[in-house]
Amino acid sequence: MTLFTASRGRSATLHPERSRRSTHNRPLHYLICGLIALVMLVPLAFMFAGAFKPNADVLADGDNWRALIPLHPTLDNFSSAWERSNFGRLLLNSLVVCGATVGLGLIVNSMFGYALARLRWTGRNVVLAAVVALIIIPFEALAIPLLLMMTELGWLDTYQAQIVPFIANPFFIYLFYSFFLALPRELEEAARVDGAGPLRTFRSVIVPLSKPAYASVAILSFLTTWGQLLWPVMATRSEDVRPLPVGMAVFQTLPPLQWGDTMAFATMMTVPTLVVFLIFQRAFVQGVAAQAVKE
């Protein structure tokens, strides 16, 4: 049970007895942390290494330490994967769909959250309860009727089929609502006294104060949209609108089967999100932690 010798290190410095114990366990603690880190990193290292290897080497070196080191590094896989998969187009599709879904979602959901938290109107509490109840419906339960809807609207194989149904999100509305509810009212009162209407108060007082909420929702929304597979498999047919995950699913089975190319595709798809994550780590972690607030 040495795993659980944790607890507050800060108080450990106040208690000489405890701090002695924790320094005693420190090498073991690092060993365990390091081993787990290795397990987490090896698949990513394998992906990067594979992207730079001649195609045949990915499998030839697969079962030993050379799997993680490109001994004859080459950039061929990247150009080959880029051309064979039409990567540029897929990337553009993913960026358009994600950008529009996240951007429009932030506006629509935060405005409704504000109306629920701050504006006075009849039936508000009933509507709020309804929004909270809607959180429980998973997208998968709607996919089939939506497919029928999209077919009848003639929206199959379009960007809007991948964007419009995902803009309004009851969970994000609830997150915004909770955040706005906790804001102090004084600033809004001041704006009102100055003669600002609700829209201007919202734009110039509330939005600037709520950057953390916007960041959390943006990241949660981005992570789910960027990785979506089931819906675009149903709703898209062509490379013109298909996003990256579907592109990956198709590319990995495309003959001739070349694992180096596939790893290059995976790397090109992962690096942008990894960079964004490393820059905005804090917001990522807060965005994920915000999930637990749901209940």
Binding site: M1, F4, T5, A6, R8, G9, R10, S11, H15, R26, I36, A37, P43, L44, F46, G62, D63, M111, Y114, L119, W121, N125, A129, I136, A141, L142, A143, I144, P145, L147, L148, T151, V164, P165, A168, P170, L181, A182, R185, G197, P198, L223, W226, L230, M234, P245, M248, Q252, M263, A266, M269, T270, L274, F277, F284, V285, V288, A292, V293, E295
Partner: protein, 323 residues
């Protein structure tokens, strides 16, 4: 984080009383207020009605018909026939069984692993932030990428996993992973846990940080050792978080799709050993164009999610009552 105020939406619904807003006096002001509320709410309400409530109701209605995707045949009301059909379909039960198997492994394994990771990196040690970042990294790679990378890592003859296992077991343990009916599901479990555990670690970290340090002080004064502190302070303090994580993981287990679609040679293979309800949904509704029957699967799936969530709410509420 103001966890307590957010914990019960029903109570949070009543905003603190406002003194500045005059109660329904000037008709002009209140008309303006109502207009603003309508303006702020309309886009979201409209989109929710069209793309959430309407399809949800449609799913229930369609599940009682023989609706097909773009077919000239007339649509007829067929009652519970679709439900009868899926409940007597061995393929459906196979899927349900696979989802259940996946849940039975992943829920305890991933929850325990995430909790252990959170406790490990919650200590105030140098490098703790580095480890947190590393454990969270796989979450940032999308499942489609994780699936493809693990597919190669798990190749029976030339994969790194069997390379390591072979060395450790002197060549005795060489599972066939995705080409074996009994090892395909464990392969998918491995991929899923690797990709998902960091996400839950972060949720546990948030929960751990909400436990007051004074409780640990008190426990130490009473002479509690590390295990006793974990058992009597950490675990009770994490109860709501724990219930939440278990609920999310259980639902996630029944939404399993990306991995079983991309990792086996054919989706759900070999010989249906990784077929899941969501794959069944896709193949029934999209490939075979049987919207009615696929809607029945969707409704069954929703009822399952509903039950899991209600059980969780109940467990969570008990906790609140005790406090």
């Amino acid at each position: 984080m103001s966890h307590t105020t957010l914990a019960s939406p029903a109570q949070g619904a009543e905003p603190p009383p406002t003194t500045a807003v005059p109660p329904r006096t000037t008709t002009k002001a209140s008309r303006r207020g109502r207009l603003a509320a309508a303006l702020f709410s309309a886009p979201a309400v409209l989109l929710l009605a069209l793309f959430l409530i309407f399809p949800f109701v449609s799913a229930v209605v369609l599940s009682l018909t023989n609706q097909r995707l773009s077919s000239p045949l007339p649509v007829e009301f067929t009652g519970l026939e679709n439900y009868q059909r899926i409940f007597t379909d061995p393929e459906f039960w196979r899927s349900f069984g696979n989802n259940t198997l996946f849940a039975v492994i992943v829920v305890p394994v991933q929850t325990a692993a995430a909790l252990a990771l959170a406790v490990l990196v919650n200590r105030r040690l140098p490098l703790r932030l580095f480890f947190r970042t590393v454990y969270f990294l796989p979450t940032v790679t999308v499942m489609a990428v994780a699936a493809v990378v693990w597919k190669v890592l798990l190749l029976p003859d030339s994969g790194l996993v069997n390379g390591v296992l072979g060395t450790l077991s002197f060549g005795h343990l060489q599972p066939g992973w995705l080409s074996s009916t009994s090892w395909a599901m464990p392969a998918i479990v491995l991929t899923s846990v690797w990709q998902g555990v960091g996400f839950q670690m972060v949720i546990f970290l948030a929960g751990l940080q909400a436990i007051p340090a004074s409780l640990y002080e008190a426990a130490r004064v009473d002479g509690a050792n590390a295990w006793q502190q974990f058992r009597h302070v950490t675990l009770p303090g994490l109860r709501n978080t724990l219930v939440f994580v278990i609920n999310v993981t259980a639902i996630f287990a029944f939404r399993l799709f990306d991995q079983v679609y991309m990792m086996p040679q054919f989706p759900g293979g070999p010989t249906d050993s990784t077929r899941t309800m969501m794959l069944q949904l896709l193949q029934t509704g999209y490939t075979r164009r049987m919207i009615g029957q696929a809607s029945a699967i969707a409704v069954v799936f929703f009822l399952f999610v509903l039950v899991v969530t209600l059980v969780q709410r109940r467990l969570g509420r008990e906790e609140r009552a005790v406090r």
